[in-house]
């Protein structure tokens, strides 16, 4: 189990010593109990740093902003950014390294282990504690959480308020790090793709009906895209304009821009958007499930990505985010690939 004081000390050391320019971590919100992302620029600010089972965000996302900011600066500060990273998040760092989006020296990784549990699912917590006011959720040594409400502390079995992705996680501690807190935690879930089974057993028609209903709800706020550390394209097919436009871009070129997806949130356009998103994450998604957590409309988006993770495993024996030296799944092929159409 990670001792918060150790994490704070490590963070203070590197920030005070000037090893990192700032640290991306978690803090408590003004109201409520779910941690929020926080940016620590001064060592004294680090008193507010927290680490608990509500630190759901994949902070690797913010490395995209850091990269974009640096590109716009004439003489950028080349020191790395310190970042608090869980097991799943660490694999996202690896994917960005593998794709040469960032360099290893750009990040200083404060790895934190989830131990025997993982992150809570806010929806489950709200259901479990209907109407009660929660102030704090803590890790325990065993497979449970301690939840503090106005009525006192209760121990809750992890399974009751756990995020589904955490029950299928095999990397509860970071696979890449500069400092590791809480030690290694190896997990061998019985069925890492168990959550897919119910859907897989449905008929094609049932699946169609299900997704038709789900994706019709989409309001195209693009939170699922925007919160994803892997969605870093300068230009996305769903944006209505071309970001690669400059003052000297001729009008013809602008006019010829293909509109892949209309702005209308109709079922068919929503399908295209979500299919494009899912396919582009095949072999890249690390199952942090931030897309599903961010979705205001309760669309079970994680399923799409998890299914493609399973396909990548089954067809290509490809595991995401462990090896930065191998070529990425969707930009490579191997002679032993089971499909022969590509040769």
């Amino acid at each position: 189990m990670v001792a918060l004081e150790d994490l704070k000390q490590e963070a203070k050391n590197v920030l005070e010593g000037g090893t990192v320019k700032y640290i991306i971590g978690y803090k408590k919100p003004a109201v409520g109990f779910m941690a929020v992302p926080a940016f620590f620029h001064k060592p004294e600010d680090l008193d507010a740093l927290v680490w608990d089972p509500t630190c759901v965000h994949n902070l690797v996302l913010f490395l995209k902003d850091e990269k974009k900011k640096k590109l716009g600066q004439k003489e950028p500060d080349e020191r790395p950014v310190g970042i608090v990273v869980k097991g799943c998040d660490s694999r996202a760092v690896n994917v960005l390294l593998q794709e040469n989006y960032i360099d290893r020296e750009n990040v200083y990784i404060l790895g934190v282990s989830c131990g025997k549990t993982g992150m809570v699912d806010l929806k489950k917590v709200r259901k479990y504690f209907k109407g009660k006011i929660i102030s704090q959720i803590d890790f325990n040594e065993n497979e449970s959480f301690t939840v503090t409400t106005t009525e006192g502390k209760v121990e809750v079995p992890a399974a009751d308020i756990f995020a589904v992705r955490c029950t299928e996680c095999i990397t509860a501690s970071p696979v890449i790090h500069d400092v590791l807190l809480g030690g290694d935690s190896v997990r061998t879930p019985e069925n890492p793709f168990g959550s897919l089974e119910e859907m897989e057993s449905k008929s094609q028609g049932q699946k169609w009906d299900f997704w038709q209903e789900q994706l019709t709800k989409c309001i195209r706020c693009y939170a699922c895209r925007s919160i994803c550390p892997m969605c870093y394209c300068d230009e996305c097919v769903v944006d209505t304009i071309n970001f690669a436009v400059y003052p000297d871009t001729p009008a013809e070129e602008k006019a010829q821009k293909i509109k892949w997806v209309e702005k209308s949130p109709t079922t068919s356009e929503n399908f295209i958007y979500h299919m494009v998103r899912a396919i582009h994450l095949a072999g890249r998604c690390v199952d942090c499930a931030e897309c599903e957590r961010a979705c205001p409309m309760d669309i079970p988006l994680r399923f799409l990505n998890k299914k493609l993770e399973k396909e990548s495993k089954k067809l290509f024996d490809y595991d995401v985010g462990y090896d930065t030296e191998i070529p990425s799944l969707i930009s490579s092929f191997r002679d032993e690939d089971p499909e022969d159409f590509i040769r």
Binding site: A30, D65, D239, T249, K254, P265, P296
Partner: protein, 346 residues
């Protein structure tokens, strides 16, 4: 008009309203949402804040203005879609959401009257429910000029009493809805009135969130365009559209021609919501983007709601529903941002 309706009789009232299209809050697995109500007996009015406000019904996210196609002889034929003419009743509307509608009314009723908006709005009847307990932990209507029992925008406001609803009508449309089922309503007694007033005053005490001295924020904002605060407060913003799309007052839209076919040409002119938090919202065709970063977009959201709108319409463009706080995936809290503006430089 003031009446009493027993809780048991609520479905009977709805049955009498069968000439109207009725929307009401419906419980889903993890949330509530407004949906067309098929079965009057399934009505429940114990709802928390719905994910979207009734904005989605009065000002839908997508609206077809007209369809077009190239006919013989290369003539362009345009046709308006058949109008959805049935009068609509939205049940169980929270006072903050009705306030949102009144704000939308101001915007769409300006120098240019938005005919598409008003066609829907004029045939919509809002039946509200006072919030005896706050429907969201982030409710802060009292701080922005509203209240849990505000009547603004309502044709009817219902207040839940022990076994009944205290039903007040403020418009002819509201009177008509009541008279359609006249015999199931009774006349309120003196103690009903007292109970209602007590529920109203109690409800104000139950609000957990407030912004003190909000009136000092609009004048202060006028000098904060270049403040570093926007950068600090927007560091974790991912520039999704949740806060604005779920907001009951945000009203920006885009109009596009959506082609079904290029040859022969056919398609639709469509209005959809647009969103100031998206990077492409202000992108010029030259490639210049006057709001190039997160900071300038967060500034726009706050400035529009608490500075420009106040100047133009003498009201905050925020009704305190708390949706943007509750649903922000990175925990940006508009109350916190406003407090920082208020205390900035102190």
């Amino acid at each position: 008009m003031e009446k009493i309706l027993t809780k048991k009789a609520l479905p009977q009232w709805l049955i009498k309203l069968n000439a109207y299209q009725i929307y009401a809050p419906v419980k889903k697995e993890n949330h509530w949402s407004y949906e067309a109500l098929d079965k009057p007996e399934s009505i429940r009015l114990d709802h928390l804040n719905t994910i979207q406000s009734p904005k989605m019904i009065i000002f839908p996210q997508r609206e077809v203005f007209f369809e077009f196609h190239n006919a013989e002889g290369n003539t362009l034929v345009m046709k308006e879609p058949a109008s959805e003419s049935s009068a609509t009743v939205i049940f169980g509307v929270r006072p903050c959401d009705a306030a949102g509608v009144t704000h939308q009314d101001k915007v769409f009723d300006g120098h240019f009257k938005d005919l598409y908006y008003w066609k829907r709005r004029n045939q919509t009847i809002l039946v509200g429910l006072a919030c005896n307990t706050p429907p969201s932990p982030h409710c802060f209507c009292l701080s922005v000029g509203g209240s849990p029992h505000s009547t603004a925008g309502f044709d009817i406001l219902m207040t839940e009493l022990e076994d009944s609803y205290y039903v007040e009508s403020f418009s002819k449309k509201g009177d008509t809805l009541i008279s359609l089922a006249g015999d199931i309503f009774s006349t309120p007694k003196e103690n009903d009135k007292k109970d209602k007033e007590k529920a109203h005053s109690d409800s104000e005490k139950k609000l957990k969130r407030h912004i003190k001295d909000l009136e000092t924020v609009p004048p202060k904002l006028k000098d904060m365009f270049d403040s570093p605060l926007w950068e600090e407060e927007s560091l974790s913003c991912i520039q999704c559209g949740i806060c604005t799309y779920l907001c009951p007052t945000c009203h920006c839209f885009d109009i596009n021609d959506e082609k079904d076919s290029s040859s022969p040409l056919s398609g639709k002119r469509v209005r959809t919501w647009d969103n100031c938090q998206f990077p492409d919202f202000t992108m010029h065709s030259s490639g210049h983007n006057p709001r190039p970063d997160r900071a300038s977009r967060l500034r726009q959201r706050i400035m529009h709601k608490f500075n420009y709108f106040v100047t133009n319409y003498k009201a905050y463009q925020c009704t305190g529903c708390g949706r943007c706080i509750d649903k922000c995936p990175v925990g940006i809290d508009i109350i916190e941002v406003l407090e920082k503006v208020r205390d900035y430089g102190k």
